[in-house]
């Protein structure tokens, strides 16, 4: 950074260095590598967006820069895994889950290689970058692929815990990550188990089942509504596949209504997964799916989009209140 510039001016790499929350991926992988796990990492020209530049600096021999060739990265990661390493490859969710969908199915999931795919800046978090950079389809797409675990952490600490848990997890994993500077729901070292939802509370009137970034606003909304006298609960469904059917059924048996909240199309994602359980198992609760309503998002700065699509605390609260009325 040129020293004569005003301190409010910034360029990309400098800015990212100032964002410690961005470094969860890199820090945790460094920790795992230092602990002796055979982790390696790679990206497709986005090492500053996902913070892997930190890992690359610490362990250059464990890092591969693939350039803008995402499909090659995924297939190569699968090939690499056969030599006994655990590759963590990261790029924007749209360029991972969508652009590499077939490579993920074939080379990673079908070949059962322990690749960890990290799709970051998912949902509409890329704001005014628009549709090409949004990913409101990735849960549906990844969930349709057999033998692939799909995880959508709510915040940095949970992501870190999931990464730690991933080193000896048998299946390939798709992680769906937001921007890396999301408000935190959990304290560091909160236990994490793949496939086991975190039941914050169950509500008699309503239980919110949320995944990823929306867990935080959903919790805020829950508290506000509780203060108003409603019995509202919250389940953090961080693992979308395999889905914690028992947790869904607990909610279905306790609550009059279930509201799923996701930064994703309401078709085929978390809401779809919950609907499948409810429609098959019954239980009586009515389901409402909240998210992007099968449309391409407008553009705007991310927080404006969250407000517009009612994925901030107020939006979730209002959506829930409308059901409770």
């Amino acid at each position: 950074m040129n020293s004569t510039l005003h301190p409010d001016s910034w360029q990309y790499r400098e800015l990212n260095k100032r964002a410690p929350s961005l470094s969860v991926l890199s820090d945790t992988l460094i920790e795992l590598a230092e602990a002796g796990h055979p982790v390696v990492a790679g990206t497709a020209d986005l090492q500053h967006s996902n913070g892997l530049a930190g890992f690359a600096g610490r362990f250059p021999e464990r890092f591969t820069q693939f350039g803008i060739s995402e499909q090659n990265m995924v297939s190569a990661a699968a090939g690499m895994a056969t030599t006994g390493v655990i590759p963590y490859v990261a790029t924007f969710a749209s360029f991972l889950a969508l652009l590499c969908c077939e490579q993920i199915r074939m080379d990673v999931a079908y070949c059962a290689q322990p690749v960890r795919l990290i799709g970051h800046h998912t949902g509409i978090s890329m704001g005014f970058y628009g549709t090409s950079h949004h990913a409101t389809e990735d849960i549906a797409i990844m969930r349709s692929i057999a033998d692939l675990t799909v995880v959508s952490p709510a915040d940095g600490p949970q992501f870190a815990a999931a990464l730690r848990a991933s080193v000896d997890y048998p299946q390939p994993i798709y992680f769906r990550i937001s921007r890396g500077h999301d408000p935190e729901v959990y304290a560091r070292d909160t236990p994490f188990e793949f496939g086991k939802a975190i039941i914050h509370e169950l509500g008699r009137d309503l239980t919110i089942i949320a995944t990823g970034m929306p867990v935080h606003p959903a919790r805020t909304a829950m508290r506000t509504l509780q203060e108003e006298g409603y019995s509202v609960g919250l389940i953090d469904m961080h693992t979308i596949k395999p889905l914690d059917r028992a947790a869904v059924m607990q909610a279905a048996k306790t609550s009059r209504m279930i509201l799923t909240v996701e930064e994703h199309n309401v078709l085929g994602g978390l809401g779809g997964a919950v609907a499948e359980v409810l429609a098959e198992e019954g239980g009586g609760a009515r389901l409402v799916r909240h998210g992007i309503r099968d449309e391409f998002s407008l553009i705007a700065p991310p927080t404006h989009l969250y407000r517009h699509y009612r994925l901030d605390a107020k939006g979730v609260e209002e959506t829930a209140r409308a059901l409770l009325a």
Binding site: L5, H6, Q11, Y12, D45, I68, S94
Partner: protein
């Protein structure tokens, strides 16, 4: 019909002759306009791709104000030449040009990236008149261009398709699928321009991937290759005029435009981290001054030296 020169088409395309000093000055001025407007729009967005635009500002100005057959105020005119942006993240520099050509209301620019605006980080054909195809995912545009050229051939429509590609974009396999396809189908009306600015998001293109020998790659894929200084509007415009004037083109051609990423602002030219960034108002003001001063100097220098722009053309069909 219009004084900007943008709508001086159709002119005698079979032999437009070389660019005059007045035309060149005008193109430089429009490149300067692109840079200044980019700075203004990014001040609204509070983040943007200055340096990706600065490397292709002269390409924008030459294409839109000299090369392309377009009609002011008629973004949907079927006979227009098409322009596609493989490096869609430079749209912030394209939008001011489209507004300047009366393709949409200039007031739209003032809401750049605000909720509901048609104008975001990438060009969007669904929302922005004058955008010939949407982009944002690097690597698709040359295929889109292949399709347009194929469609035009079948429909007997008479236009050229220009596709601006990043040099980092050369790493996307789909570009080479499209390159092969274009050569196979002998799409002579397709022109790719590679903005060879040497940098991509994570650093130097050549450190990240062995894209050199780039001209050999395109040639081996069946394209005619030209190399040019991408900031030299005279060289660029003359090359593009010759290409357009050549009605015998039977193969697609690729122009490798050697450019400087961040051209015009010293710290952007030297620091790849400026792929994305933000200038505080004070720095923004200084950047404007630098750009204006640079443009004056360029015009003065050229006026002194005469027009001495070099264009290297291989395979000599254009």
């Amino acid at each position: 019909m219009e004084p900007t020169g943008a709508t001086s088409w159709p002119r005698n395309v079979s032999d437009p002759g070389p660019v005059t000093p007045q035309e060149a000055e005008r193109l430089r001025e429009r490149a300067c306009f692109v840079r200044l407007e980019t700075i203004r729009l990014i001040s609204i967005a509070k983040v943007g791709h200055y340096s990706s635009v600065f490397s292709c500002a002269e390409i924008f100005s030459t294409l839109y104000y000299d090369t392309m057959n377009i009609r002011r105020g008629e973004p949907g005119w079927p006979g227009r030449d098409r322009f596609l942006m493989g490096k869609g993240h430079a749209a912030v520099g394209q939008f001011p040009v489209l507004a300047d050509l009366d393709f949409f209301d200039k007031a739209w620019l003032d809401d750049y990236t605000r909720l509901g605006s048609p104008l975001g980080d990438h060009p969007d054909m669904r929302k922005v008149p004058g955008v010939d195809f949407s982009s944002g995912s690097i690597g698709h545009a040359l295929s889109n261009g292949v399709g347009m050229a194929l469609g035009a051939r079948f429909r007997k429509q008479d236009f050229d398709v220009f596709v601006l590609l990043g040099d980092g974009e050369m790493q996307e396999g789909q570009v080479w699928e499209a390159a092969l396809s274009a050569a196979t189908h002998r799409l002579g009306r397709l022109v790719a321009i590679v903005d060879r600015n040497g940098y991509q998001l994570d650093g130097s293109v050549d450190d990240i991937a062995a894209v050199e020998p780039l001209a050999d790659k395109w040639r081996a894929f069946g394209w005619v290759v030209h190399e040019v200084d991408g900031h030299d509007v005279v060289a660029l415009a003359n090359l593009l005029r010759r290409i357009k004037a050549d009605r015998t083109r039977s193969q697609p051609c690729c122009i490798i435009a050697r450019t400087v990423k961040g051209k015009g602002i010293d710290y952007m030219e030297t620091e790849p981290g400026w792929h994305l960034g933000y200038l505080a108002p004070e720095d923004e003001r200084r950047a404007r001054e630098t750009i204006l001063a640079g443009a004056d100097a360029a015009n003065a220098e050229v006026a002194g030296n005469g027009i001495a722009s070099a264009v290297m053309t291989s395979e000599g069909t254009a």
